[in-house]
């Protein structure tokens, strides 16, 4: 019973969070790959997956950062902008790739917010892009 009340409280609490206005949402994930940062960066720069749906905003070779905007989104989110940065890992042959996305939910008007157009749905959808995206990237990098 206590567990149930706790779960219910958590649920109500999180619902109140998602009820607020069009606040930019953030998803940030990292993955460690067994490849030197310079090499990882070169591959990421022309990672073909991006080029199909993304408009590259900027490259920064010095800090190994790529910024891009998603031009068309079929997912339950909008105004998607993100950047990927390559950092040094624990040793010379290891890098940490960090992916950060900023976006909004699709529904931007008065509550009630229609189901599937809220902040939680948007965050979940972007996580589904970022996490497997990083895993694919790791695989591509380490198999080269």
């Amino acid at each position: 019973m206590r567990k149930f009340i706790l779960a219910l409280t958590t649920l109500l609490f999180s619902m109140s969070i998602f009820a607020h206005g069009p606040t930019p949402q953030k998803v940030q994930e990292s993955i460690t790959v067994n490849v030197a940062p310079a090499r990882a960066w070169l591959t990421i720069k022309d990672f073909s997956d991006f080029k199909k749906i993304m408009k590259t905003r900027s490259f920064d070779d010095e800090i190994m950062k790529i910024k891009y905007e998603m031009l068309k989104t079929d997912g339950p989110f909008s105004d998607y902008n993100a950047y990927i940065i390559v950092k040094k890992g624990a040793n010379d042959n290891e890098s940490v790739i960090q992916w950060t996305a900023r976006f909004y939910r699709t529904y931007k008007l008065n509550p009630p917010i229609p189901e599937g157009q809220d902040d939680a749905t948007a965050v979940a959808a972007v996580k589904k892009i970022v996490k497997p995206g990083l895993a694919r990237l790791k695989k591509a990098l380490e198999s080269k």
């Binding site: 109140s16 607020h20 206005g21 606040t23 930019p24 953030k26 950047y83 950060t100 900023r102 008007l109």
Partner: protein, 319 residues
Amino acid sequence: MINQNKKFILIILTTIFLSLIYLYSNYYKVNPKAYITNQGDDNVSVVDLVSLKVIQTIKVGIAPLGITILNKKNLAFIGNVGTDDISVIDTRTDQIIKTIKLNTAPLSLTSSPDESKVYITDWFKNNVLVISVEEMKVIDSFKVGKTPSGIAFNKEYNYLIVTNRDSNSIEIYNKNKKLIKKLATGKHPFGVYTKGKYAYTANVYDDTVSVISLEDWSTKVIKVGAHPYNILTHQNLGLVTNTVDDSLSVIDLKIDKEIKQIKTGETPENLDIHQKLNLLVVTNWGSDSISVYSLKNLTLIKEIKTGAQSRSFGDFILH
């Protein structure tokens, strides 16, 4: 000889007296501070602008965004869009002294020049709410155009100025809440700033800034970096945060042109200045920090970690 002794004693007494006054006044004086709303952490970082360190973190409502500082009254008003309320902070003690319930999401805040009122844009119901600072409650509200975003008060004309993000316009109200002008801006105007005879809007979708003359209602458009969010002016310069370029556009207002861009942290959103300390402070939503620049030559002095999704939409520096 006696006279000289008297003189000496008098000097000593005066010195002691003056030091006491100095000590006393300093006891109640606080350093200039920046109040940073961390929307992802539900708190406010207080940054001492002399030592450039976070000296306190204040828990507020959920998802704080907008802010306005009342310098004469030593108060900071924080808008929490997650709990639909305002946290009022006493800037002498950095404690919350009042929470004002609104039942709607406060997007941005500004105050009247005499600091008797705080104005809030109500994004969902298209209103401006008026708070009496003395009574610490909402005493009035009036309808404005759709999706009111930024808000600013022009001292010269006594105008309250509001941007309407989704209808690409700016509205100018007089002190009797009467709409006296509605003008087109660039696409998606978010932040608004006003000084002297002008109002300025940052237009997110078309990467421009609109400059509106409050004298003859003429408008002009200046190209800046990608997805500008907010703007302020200092002397003949306009400074604009470009959220997608991670930069500040520097505009020469004499020729209405961007003259350079300066690097910021990730996704810079808002900015404020402290003239005496010669500082410019920018909040970085993406890197959870603020960047502090010299206002004179716009060089970076320090980047300071604050909290998750630092925003501070409004004037956020205590002078």
